[in-house]
């Protein structure tokens, strides 16, 4: 590569990553999938926009042939391999059993129904679904059926987090079913890619049956002996190398090596990387922080690069076929929502929750786009179908959260601000310690109680011994359940300079006292989680600590609740 070509390559990479990341952030700020902004970056810089108005610039920045194009192509291949590595890390196949019959039914029907629908539609109307004449109908049907049956675990995880549904029964069922869908979807897709005739005619490549046999043996080996071996490797590398560099290098090199092996036996490299991810993800020695670093590494650098590169390769305006987009979107939504929602109803879930589950599982997101791009590169689909899949992935991802929320129409959880009492609000000096602050607030609240202040303080101390009192940085929780009250009581003591403390521990600047009725656990947990979410938000915490009255605090919290939290 010449000096000028190196300059071009770095310029192209820098622009792609920078613009994609920036637009991804904008999309996130607008509560849309980050991948939408990242693809838009490619659309802006590629043939669709820049190429239309200033074709010389696009040709210069992102040439279609030559060493620069080769370099970009190689980077996107690495990106997709790493993407599948981190996707595999989160696959926990035993979860489906732990979530019980409901998750199993949803996962099976949510996979089979859209698969069958997609398969049947291709045979019934291949032209309507954009089948290129040179592609075998069976292979095309298999691909589209697979594409329609997968769910996007990252989008689902984000939606559940935003809706505070993560640890609920519904959330865990959705996650378990999506994990299995993901796993089977990628295995099926690897099979589809392995079946493409063109991959077996190159010199040195294996015939199709050798590929299938080697693929099955590779998968079985990685999930049994390989998994145990990788676990031992992680222990040794962590023990004998600097953390996290050593273990990160191990993960990345294993993903690339197994990717190379998968390519060699005739399936795509993503298959090898995904299996490494599944095997590593199961390691009892791989630290949570290592996983986080890998996720960050891929999400910050390789995901924007990969998704922006899609816009460079395809002219989204020229290849936009509204009818095809509509048909693909309709089949995708009907298949997934009916498959998952219907399955959940059959398994005994109440209908509103079941349809909410169907909407949640309908999100396709980045996984669908990766699948589409790889299929296009393999010559299985054309640009029109790729654009239709991208549109379907984005629309389903954008609609999933709002539709799920609307369908659930949940009762609004109890907020602590509703129970904040004026007589329980104090601004205290730094000569007081947190215990005195608790006494002051409890004294203020106890005027509304039958029990004495001493009884109340003893109940708080008992609870404190059990659960500890940390709520957020600089904020201490004092809590008790009482049998003599019918409604919760909340009081706050603030000390902007920090309460007097005996040790070097972080200064406590706020003490929140929460008293809840003994028999109302749901309300109690809602108030405590609301408190935690409120005070864990650094911006809101800073503003709350500066309040001078309960009234001001109420006003601040009510105005902040009408804004999106993130």
């Amino acid at each position: 590569m010449s000096h000028a070509e190196l300059v071009s390559l770095f310029l192209a990479l820098g622009l792609l990553v920078g613009v994609a990341r920036a637009l991804g952030e904008v999309a996130s700020a607008l509560r849309q999938p980050a991948v939408l902004g990242e693809i838009l970056a490619g659309v802006l810089l590629g043939p669709t926009i820049l190429g239309t108005f200033w074709p010389q610039a696009t040709a210069r920045l992102f040439p279609e042939t030559g060493p620069v194009a080769f370099g970009l192509q190689a980077m996107t291949q690495v990106a997709v391999v790493l993407f599948l590595l981190v996707a595999g890390l989160e696959v926990d196949l035993s979860r489906i059993k732990r979530q019980g019959r409901m998750a199993t039914v949803v996962s099976v029907t949510g996979m089979l129904f859209p698969f069958a629908l997609g398969f049947a539609f291709v045979y019934a109307a291949p032209g309507l679904l954009g089948k290129p004449p040179e592609t075998a109908t069976f292979l095309y049907a298999l691909f589209l059926a697979t594409a329609l049956s997968i769910s996007a675990l990252p989008v689902i995880a984000k939606i559940l987090m935003d809706l505070h549904l993560f640890r609920t029964d519904l959330g865990m069922i959705i996650l378990a079913a999506a994990i299995v869908n993901d796993f089977i979807g990628w295995l099926l897709f690897a099979l589809v890619l392995g079946l493409i005739p063109g991959r077996h005619v190159e010199e040195g490549s294996f015939d199709i049956w050798t590929t299938v046999t080697a693929t099955l043996a590779f998968a079985a080996g990685m999930l049994t002996v390989g998994r145990v071996a990788l676990n031992q490797m992680v222990v040794r590398v962590q023990a004998h190398s600097a953390w996290p560099a050593g273990v990160l290098a191990l993960c990345l090199s294993l993903a690339l090596l197994c990717g190379a092996f998968a390519e060699w036996i005739g399936v795509h490299a993503i298959f090898g990387a995904f299996l490494v991810g599944v095997a590593l993800g199961d390691s009892s020695h791989l630290r949570e922080r290592t996983r986080l670093i890998l996720h960050h590494f891929v999400a910050a650098l390789f995901a924007p690069l990969f998704f922006a590169s899609i816009g460079l390769r395809v002219n989204f305006v020229e290849s936009f076929d509204p009818l095809l987009c509509l048909v693909v979107l309709a089949i995708a939504c009907v298949g997934k929502i009916l498959g998952c929602g219907g399955g959940a109803i059959l398994a005994g879930m109440p209908s509103r929750e079941a349809w909410a589950l169907g909407f949640g599982m309908n999100a396709r997101g980045a996984m669908e786009i990766i699948l589409g791009l790889l299929a296009r590169e393999a010559g299985l689909i054309d640009d029109r179908m790729l654009v239709a899949l991208v549109v379907m992935a984005l629309v389903t991802s954008m609609l999933s959260g709002p539709l799920m929320e609307r369908m659930l129409a949940r009762r609004k959880p109890a907020r602590f601000v509703r129970y904040l009492r004026d007589r329980g609000f104090f601004i205290l000096g730094s000569d007081k310690d947190p215990f005195q602050a608790i006494e002051a607030v409890a004294g203020g609240l106890s005027t509304a109680l039958d029990s004495s202040l001493e009884t109340l303080l003893e109940a708080i101390r008992r609870r404190d011994r059990l659960t500890g009192n940390g709520l957020a940085p600089g904020v201490r929780l004092a809590h008790a359940r009482l049998s003599g009250i019918s409604t919760p009581l909340v009081g706050v003591a603030l000390c902007p300079e920090g309460f007097r403390s005996g040790g070097d521990a972080e200064k406590v600047r706020a003490v929140v006292v929460v008293l809840t009725p003994q028999d109302k656990e749901v309300q109690q947990i809602e108030i405590l989680t609301d408190l935690a979410r409120t005070f864990l938000d650094a911006r809101l915490r800073r503003l709350l600590l500066a309040c001078s009255s309960a009234l001001e605090m109420r006003a601040l919290l009510r105005s902040s609740q009408s804004e999106p939290q993130h």
């Binding site: 035993s94 675990l153 659960t467």
Partner: protein
């Protein structure tokens, strides 16, 4: 696993004193297991019965008699001999028992999860709680630091009550009541624009809720006289319990017993929860399950 007062007359408590079934093997640690079991039976007020699964020969019988004479402080221990698959025999013999005690290896080999060891199989099939002793103490002492891992979805008040009874009987220094909190695929939300603070907030908020739910259960169980610490452990089910026990130098880890039927290959390939804990015992382990109602 009831704690009876040995002085109680059967008529007063409504049922005879409970029974502890101790499984003896032809292994060097059997004497230590018997000694530990004997101490615990006194602490819990349980009658002790020894069982060996294998052929009864005069030599083996003599060997066990000598072993019991050396191990027990009180005379009278005898061994029942039965033949058959160990877990089936224990399941049958322990029908009237309140606790099964046996020795176990600290660690399973690489294929341990797939081809479960005797101790793990017994823990799975016994009709009552099972105590596995990986390294029984030659001079048995009460369990002082207990870690009780509650079911991550529905903690059992019955298990908590039994744990509290045991803690009182053993006069523990600290009872840690913990719940593992796994948030699958949460890290993937980072790819969709979530930031680290958000995922961390999700973990902390869920941990707080889990801690307070456990604390409610404990308050309802009247746990005042026992020093207790409630924790929620973010991470993988089964694995966090091991780490926490090691960090807190626990001498007894109490977990819900694994399901009786571990039939799927998937579960054997990817053990989770109690199955994972059983592969790597950090200390003595009590696999708790509710007593069957007669």
């Amino acid at each position: 696993m009831p704690v009876s007062n040995p002085q109680d007359d059967p008529g007063v408590v409504g049922r005879p004193p409970g029974e502890m079934l101790v499984l003896l093997a032809l292994s060097p640690t059997s004497g230590l297991v018997a000694r530990e079991a004997s101490r615990l039976s006194r602490s819990l007020g349980l009658r002790i019965r020894f069982l060996h699964v294998g052929a009864r020969t005069p030599a083996i019988h003599r060997r066990f008699q000598t072993l019991l004479e050396h191990s027990l402080t009180e005379p009278g221990g005898d061994v029942t001999f039965r033949t058959g698959r160990i877990e089936d025999v224990v399941a049958e013999e322990a029908q009237a028992s309140d606790l099964v005690v046996l020795g176990a290896l600290e660690q399973e080999g690489p294929l341990g999860a797939f081809f479960s060891s005797v101790a793990r199989r017994v823990a799975r099939t016994a009709p009552c709680p099972t105590l596995l002793l990986p390294s029984p103490n030659p001079n048995p002492e009460p369990f002082r630091r207990l870690v009780a891992v509650m079911d991550p979805s529905t903690p059992s008040p019955e298990m908590l009550r039994d744990v509290l009874e045991l803690a009182r009987a053993e006069q523990v220094e600290m009872l840690h009541v913990v719940q593992e909190l796994e948030l699958p695929a949460l890290n993937l939300a980072l790819e969709e624009g979530a930031d680290l603070d958000q995922t961390e907030e999700e973990r902390r908020v869920n941990a707080l809720a889990a801690r307070h739910r456990l604390a409610n259960l404990l308050e309802d169980c009247q746990a005042d006289q026992v020093p207790i610490r409630v924790e929620s452990l973010a991470g993988r089910e089964g694995l966090e319990a091991i780490r926490y026990s090691q960090e807190n130098s626990a001498d007894l880890l109490i977990v819900p017993a694994p399901e009786r039927d571990q039939s799927t290959v998937l579960e054997r390939l990817f053990p989770r929860g109690t199955d994972l804990t059983l592969l790597n015992l950090p200390c003595a382990l009590l696999a708790w399950r509710p007593r069957r109602t007669p």
